[in-house]
Symmetry: C2
């Protein structure tokens, strides 16, 4: 349920704290659950005032009633106006835990006109109900709806190849919705064998360090652990199998690609094999080299950052340094296990 | 120069390594530079084949010529076809360093029809030239162009409130473009005074830990350093001034808000003031408390993660533990300073 996962529990976002200032959509129900089942129950909760009972039909048609008379899946409002019937159409949606609303992405009208009118009516309805942040997911196939949402005052929040998420902040106060993800996470792998030889690569990089021998590096995959990403990158680029020993340092750089930031974690790895198989797509060449050959390259002599990183890695290898190790722990906030990286302590 | 910053130097993305597998837009020119000046020089570079010289006019009109005759800002192609004149219209764009193309976001046609035809022609032209990744930035005001780009095969890449970035991968091989940013970066602040009292808060959080006294936490701002974010959050939530001592641990959690991950860094801070001023927008209450009062809360007794974090912080405070300190270093890749976090070593 990609759709639902996109609106998962904020508490997971901060496994040993909560974030009152960040109003991220959250479904009050957890675990595996049926989306449409939930969406209507949430819609019920969302649109149910004290004064009347409301119900949804499968066609997202909402009608309030004093006396409920089923009518081919459509419920009809009959206030105290004799035989007159009032029917209002809103987008299907459910509450989040922050006084906001999550529009059901699987039930948006396919026609631009229908979407425009329903969105307008829904926004008025949410305003009347004092809702705060509105979350709207629009898939690639629904791209015609994007300009309409923007027209109504939605802003982009973030995007993945197949969809864009838009938000609308109703209160007349600064927006409390969280910003989009800000960082990429990379690794640099220091792999040293029993002969004190270090695994280095030459990259097929058009923009920098041509011919420089350097540590294997890369970015972790979605939901990948840092130590797993380091092991995978080394295997992919050089064919060498490794195990993770410790994380010895990390660099925080800003205003990098897309005005975003990145964190790169330097990992000390122990090789389990020595034979090198170069990944020709990414790597020009790879080899085992001595510390002197590595650091005596002119590039390293001129690069304060790389020099310091190699010094720290050598100290870690020679046990003069203790970096962070990954410890899997359960958090009460989400009942899940995640990794806490820290140095082994005296109590362990 | 938001527009240009969005396409800044990939090398910054990996200050002591390069990323051949990631084809992020990069302007070959660096430093402060005039956008339009650059865009035309890049357009020149982009569209200039061996066989003929090309030039742009201010109206994004591209024409190839054998003999250059200026014509009110419009250059005209006159191949070997006598007096016949050929005029082709393409989107203004420039090369990135990865064989890709960055469309000039400030020169998109305002009319949807003009954009549709020019985009189609440009894609054919880029294909002919063997280009790889195409980067297209569309602002809120240009939202009508989004469905057209999607129609032509573009996918969403990422978004900020005011714009969405779309990409198009031309080669008939797996896309080598980087994914959108994947992580949010948070902090948890352990502030302990000379009486061994710890600064704790109760959050106005609708979703979890009601009434629980916990460490001040928050997310760092765009381009903010981790240690600065910790100091700022403590000041904002409690009014207490602090200095950063060390980063003692961090937690890596996955599939959190928006299917993204987060890293939360636990920072040991020394208070410079003791008086508490609660930020009523975010915080229910704040106080100085004893270690026993903090950890004896039922919530902490049941939360493996929080318990371990407090133990590590106390060991760090009692100097039985050395976490990471931020060291500002220059990288040769971007000539910029960024922070490398690591433990003080014997050589320092």
């Amino acid at each position: 349920m990609t759709t639902m996962a996109a609106f998962t529990d904020i508490c997971q976002w901060s496994s040993f704290h909560c974030q009152p200032s960040l109003m991220v959509p959250r479904i009050t129900c957890t675990g595996n659950w049926n989306h449409h089942g939930l969406s209507s129950s949430f819609s019920w909760k969302l649109f149910c005032p004290e004064s009347a009972s409301f119900k949804f039909s499968s066609s997202r048609r909402l009608v309030a009633r004093r006396s409920y008379v089923p009518k081919k899946g459509i419920q009809v409002v009959s206030p105290n106006i004799g035989s007159q019937t009032l029917t209002i159409e809103f987008l299907n949606a459910w509450d989040d835990e922050y006084g906001g609303v999550i529009v059901d992405p699987e039930s948006l009208p396919s026609s631009a006109n229908a979407f425009a009118s329903t969105l307008k009516a829904s926004i008025s309805n949410w305003k009347l109900k004092g809702k705060k942040g509105i979350w709207l997911k629009i898939t690639l196939e629904q791209a015609d709806l994007v300009p309409i949402a923007i027209q109504e005052g939605f802003l982009y929040h973030h995007a993945e190849p197949g969809y864009v998420i838009l938000t609308y902040w109703i209160p007349n106060e600064p927006c409390m919705l969280p910003s989009s993800p800000s960082h990429q996470i990379g690794i640099a792998a220091f792999v040293i064998n029993d002969k004190r030889e270090i695994l280095v690569v030459q990259e097929k990089c058009p923009c920098s360090c041509p011919g420089v021998w350097k540590l294997p590096t890369g970015y972790i995959d979605k939901s990948e652990e840092i130590f797993s990403g380091a092991i995978r990158e080394v295997k992919e680029e050089t064919g060498v199998d490794t195990i993770f020993l410790e994380m010895v340092a990390f660099r925080h750089a800003h205003l990098v690609a897309f005005e975003k930031s990145d964190l790169q974690f330097v990992c000390l790895l122990k090789p389990l094999s020595l034979e090198i198989t170069v990944d020709e797509k990414e790597i020009q060449d790879a080899k085992w080299t001595t510390l002197d050959e590595l650091v005596q390259q002119p590039f390293y002599q001129e690069d304060q950052m790389s020099k310091r990183v190699i010094e720290i890695c050598m100290e870690a290898y020679e046990n003069h340094y203790n970096g962070f190790i990954a410890h899997q722990l359960i958090s009460k906030f989400d009942g899940k296990q995640s990794y806490l990286y820290y140095k082994e302590t005296m109590t362990e």
